[in-house]
């Protein structure tokens, strides 16, 4: 199989179209199983009562937001090295979903924090670095939407996401350092509930469902981007794009 064949938008477009239903189906099935586990299989936590069930969306959303940022950096590196047009489009297709998950992680985190610690927000290392990740997403989205020329947009976006991914560990480390220095804060998030087997299972299945959702959305968005960019090109004029 020639992978480079699919690096061209013209041949990737129909492939993406075929893949979307499968990933959508996977998402729906996994979501159903995941939600069932979250509400009916997982037992009540003896410390946090029913409130802990937020974990089943909060943790997968946080994982996905970090994972998507890494995937964006991967596509960016590929795009800068091989100069493939598709890579830039993929990066831009993933960014809004990644930003969405970072946002959801922040909101669900504070909805969790309010009943557990009595406050919507604490300057905990994990929350703070998640917030910064959200800012990095916003920066990427702002930069790419401000540049009109698509080639420059791809390259500038790729450079920014690579600079970001190099900085994420440094930022994370510095935030932890900062947090340990200012131990004055009364609550600490490190006292997470002990992970029971079923809970881990539920979180993994929800994470997989989010993963399927991300791919489906990414493919859908990349198809829009391809159409927008190549509107005047011959293959769109000639071929029936379904």
């Amino acid at each position: 199989m020639n992978w480079f064949k699919y690096a061209s938008p013209a041949s990737f477009y129909p492939l993406a179209g075929k893949l979307i239903p499968y990933f959508a189906a996977i998402t729906v099935v996994l979501l159903a199983i995941g939600l069932w586990i979250s509400f009916f299989v997982a037992p009540t936590d003896f410390q946090q009562g029913e409130g802990y069930r937020i974990i089943f969306v909060h943790v997968p959303a946080s994982w996905m937001s970090m994972f998507i940022y890494c995937v964006m950096a991967f596509w960016s590196a590929l795009g800068l090295i091989f100069n493939t047009r598709l890579s830039g489009m993929m990066t831009q297709a993933l960014a809004p979903t990644g930003a969405l998950f970072a946002f959801l992680s922040l909101v669900t985190g504070s909805l969790w924090g309010k009943p557990m610690w009595g406050t919507w927000w604490v300057w905990d290392a994990r929350l703070t670095s998640q917030l910064i990740l959200f800012f990095l997403y916003l920066g990427y989205l702002a930069l790419t939407s401000a540049i009109d020329d698509s080639r420059r947009r791809d390259k500038a976006g790729a450079i920014l996401s690579l600079v970001g991914v190099v900085n994420v560990p440094i930022i994370y480390f510095s935030v932890i350092w900062w947090n340990t220095l200012h131990q004055g804060a009364s609550v600490s998030m490190t006292k997470a509930p002990t992970m029971a087997h079923t809970m881990l299972m539920g979180m993994l299945i929800m994470a997989l469902a989010f993963w399927g959702y991300t791919i489906a959305m990414g493919l859908k968005r990349v198809r829009c981007i391809i159409l927008e960019r190549e509107m005047s090109s011959e293959w769109i004029k000639k071929n029936a794009v379904e």
Binding site: R152, L160, W177
Partner: protein, 224 residues
């Protein structure tokens, strides 16, 4: 081409240009002084509180002052076509960019370091803490200019450039802010603060190696 010659030519060029624009030259410094002096008006004149938050405030001020001059770092050269000519020079473009960044630091960062003692006195800081602040600013502000140049290059000629630049760059400044302001805090608590200096120095080296190169790549993209 000799490495130092290239950097030297560019630093001298940009410094001469900055000196011919005296108003622009001092903007960053005035901005820093005013921002820092507005703070007591916001939080009240309690000397204890002020001396507690002073390191953080000085650092935030330094961040903003650096940011202020960044949109102009490449913009003039981009508009009058000089940047294009610089990129065609037989000198290494990365070194040319490094020279411009160093000039930016000399104009925006160094004055901030030098004026810190006066502001420190206003905020009731003791001599040793002022010394610590100056040392961390001296180590940290070059990182701000270096990382900032990447943002300036990426947003060159883009609409809404200035605001966009802050959005891109400020999150990346966080480690510098934490280590810089943390050192003074650590000194006050009687903790060992050598770690902070090592970390700032590490950031310096890392940024020195990568930032001019990344900026040069981003500038070539902007010039296409």
């Amino acid at each position: 081409m000799n490495l130092f010659t290239t950097v030297f030519i560019m630093v001298r060029r940009d410094l001469i240009l900055a000196l011919r624009h005296k108003s622009e030259l001092l903007t960053a410094l005035f901005f820093f002084v005013i921002v820092v002096n507005l703070l007591p008006l916001g939080v009240g004149p309690d000397p204890k509180l002020l001396s507690k938050i002073a390191p953080g405030v000085l650092w935030i001020g330094a961040l903003l002052a650096t940011l202020l001059g960044l949109p102009r770092l490449f913009a003039h050269d981009y508009q009058d076509g000089s940047l294009e000519q610089l990129s065609l020079s037989p000198h290494s473009f990365t070194l040319i960019v490094l020279g411009k960044i160093m000039a930016h630091w000399l104009v925006a960062g160094l004055p901030v370091v030098l004026i810190t003692p006066f502001l420190g006195i206003q905020f009731n800081l003791s001599g040793p803490i002022i010394a610590v602040m100056m040392a961390t600013l001296l180590l940290g502000t070059p990182v701000l200019s270096l990382i900032g140049s990447i943002g300036a290059a990426l947003t060159l000629g883009v609409r809404g450039g200035g605001v966009l630049l802050s959005l891109l760059i400020l999150p990346l400044y966080i480690p510098v802010l934490i280590f810089g302001a943390g050192a003074a805090e650590a000194y006050r608590s009687g903790l060992d603060m050598s770690g902070y200096f090592w970390l700032l120095a590490a950031l310096d080296i890392l940024a020195l190696f990568f930032a001019p190169w990344v900026s040069a790549v981003a500038l070539k993209v902007a010039l296409e």
